[in-house]
Symmetry: C2
Subunit: 337 residues, 2 copies
DNA sequence: ACTTAAACTGAAACCGTTAACAAATATTTC
DNA sequence: GAAATATTTGTTAACGGTTTCAGTTTAAGT
């Protein structure tokens, strides 16, 4: 393996000069630099990052921590996230991936090991970890889950707005009897999405009917159960908004089980736009949560932070997008014309 | 940040002794070692991996490279893989994740940067990368995709056997008219699965009907199209084996479109057991490809390899598992009694 | 008690890089 | 053309560990 000293020898200069030349230090005369760069390229020189790290006290690695490796709900999550991150992470950083739940010693999470950290958070259980991060002083961003702490850089989707827009769309199609299957109690996203739901109904002067608010926990099962109870109502809704796609799939199965056809008899809207929402039958109309964009944006911000450590942390929203597929139909000859 | 020299100072020994004590070197007297370990713990000592790396010429990182970040078909893949890997990767290795297609310079993949590499391969396009790896001398394993090169450590599922078993099951339920939707031409997995399919039919002395062999490419669309053509046959099959779940989902949608109900009129078997196969309607009977196990096993083998570099490379198979759900029914009063 | 071997500890060099400081060379300035 | 200044390069010491080799104890043998 060839080192800067090897280069120095063939270039007839000191290794310091080589180091400077290769790092774009302006002290070096242009022609010297060019010569050294040429030689380095010829010799196929690759810097030793361990040595660099040691002296620079930088690790050249970014850690990606996501809630749980063992709780499989959110598969496309990770891929999308990694995709987004790699788009902006420059090549001499490497990205390590960890499950928050599988960290044995928080002590091993030190500034020396991570230049920065991305937390792809899905649950409140991550708070302890986030708190620890804060202690260490490692620059970090929390992605995906909205935090209340203004001291933390936080990139999330604009759930509330997105849901409102989707419901506006449904109402525009004539729906008046509209239900919601809520997410897990206590999650920020649950209340945000519910708010968006209510925003739209209220804006359209539609009544908020308690029977149409059903509990869920973001799991497929809970969607199934909630939909079952909705279908048992004496006056069932014509449109159901599910706070995520997993529950929408559960709800869909409840409809199959009850022999309800979609979107003929009932319309359904999901949230997230997971990979499979396009392959359900009928394909699910949903609100896309742009995980890749969130990750990309978050990474950009994190890098900015690394370079300028005392920039103020902000909370940033990225736009959701309504994906119209086929699970919502116009309600037939029933609108209040 | 505290170093071995700090520990040495408070312990009243040389930093050399500390280094040895902390690394389990048998030269150190037990009581000295105990004392040093206690002090290290008290001081919250964490070794500096950059320094260690530098002198040991080890990176303490394992790279996970997977085929394509941008081709979203196989999302649960990555999660399962990471899950499996973390189960066995000991804590002082860190795992970095990369898309093969986003590597700009192969030169950056050097033995100094990776102690070992896991290649989660899904396509032949990875061969160039695998070839490069071989050049570098970095110990590596190729997971998931069967290779012909006997010089490479390779962990894959036993596709052929698994498919045979699944078809045995279908035939046991009375099916005689059985079709296959094949995977992408040229892929090893395609031929393996097809072989398993034929193995079973032949073992049961069933004819191999050319019309029942349809082409696919592992994409959802291709499953849809293949199923459409199968349904147009004058004598359509009663059981269709799809070479992966994605195509099974496409096939399922074709059935919906044609008004065919499953499993009443037609039975379907998939392959992979992707996350969503349990949420289709009806839930898909499929063959589970144990990605987590493959990864786990592969990682174990890789680590073995790191510790004993000249162990012979092998090709290892891990067992698939038939997941019986509800897309296959017994064929009604039609068996050749 | 005295040598000799065994057990343990320490001094110093090294891994490949950057950086503070010193030195050399080139360029102005008068 | 010498002094002053600017530009470019080199010397040397870190960074935090491991390892070789030498040195010091301690235990064993006679």
């Amino acid at each position: 393996m060839i080192t800067i000293k090897d280069i120095a020898r063939v270039a007839g200069v000191s290794h310091t000069t080589v180091s400077r030349a290769l790092n774009g230090n302006p002290l070096i005369k242009k022609e010297t630099r060019d010569r050294i760069e040429r030689i380095a390229a010829e010799l196929n020189y690759i810097p030793n990052y361990s040595a660099k790290s040691l002296v620079m006290k930088k690790s050249y690695t970014i850690g990606l921590f996501f809630s749980s490796i063992d709780q499989g709900t959110s598969a496309s999550f990770l891929v999308d996230a990694i995709k987004g991150i790699h788009q902006v992470l420059d090549e001499n950083y490497s990205l390590t991936v960890h499950g928050i739940d599988s960290i044995r010693h928080y002590d091993a999470i030190t500034p020396r090991r991570f230049d920065g950290v991305l937390v792809m958070s899905q649950s409140e259980a991550d708070n302890a970890f986030i708190y620890h991060l804060k202690q260490t002083g490692i620059p970090f961003v929390v992605l995906n889950r909205q935090l209340d702490d203004p001291g933390i850089l936080n990139v999330v989707a604009n759930d509330r707005e997105g849901v409102r827009e989707a419901l506006d769309y449904g109402i525009g199609l004539g729906h008046r009897k509209i239900a919601i299957i809520e997410g897990r109690a206590g999650f920020k996203s649950t209340t945000e999405r519910k708010q968006g739901f209510m925003d739209s109904l209220i804006a359209h002067r539609l009544p908020l009917i308690p029977d149409y608010f059903t509990a869920g926990d973001y799991g497929v099962e809970s969607g199934y159960n909630a939909m079952m109870s909705l279908l048992s109502l004496s006056d069932p809704p014509t449109l159901v908004f599910c706070s995520n796609d997993d529950m929408a799939i559960g709800a869909l199965n409840a409809c199959y089980a009850r022999g309800i056809t979609l979107p003929g008899q009932l319309s359904l809207i999901g949230f997230d736009d997971i990979l499979f929402s396009q392959y359900t039958y009928p394909p699910l109309t949903t609100i896309r949560k742009p995980i890749a964009d969130i990750s990309k944006f978050g990474t950009t911000k994190l890098i900015e932070r690394l370079e300028q450590p005392d920039s103020a942390p902000e909370q940033l929203f990225v736009q959701t997008e309504l994906i119209v597929r086929q699970s919502v139909a116009a309600v037939k000859n029933e609108g209040q014309l």
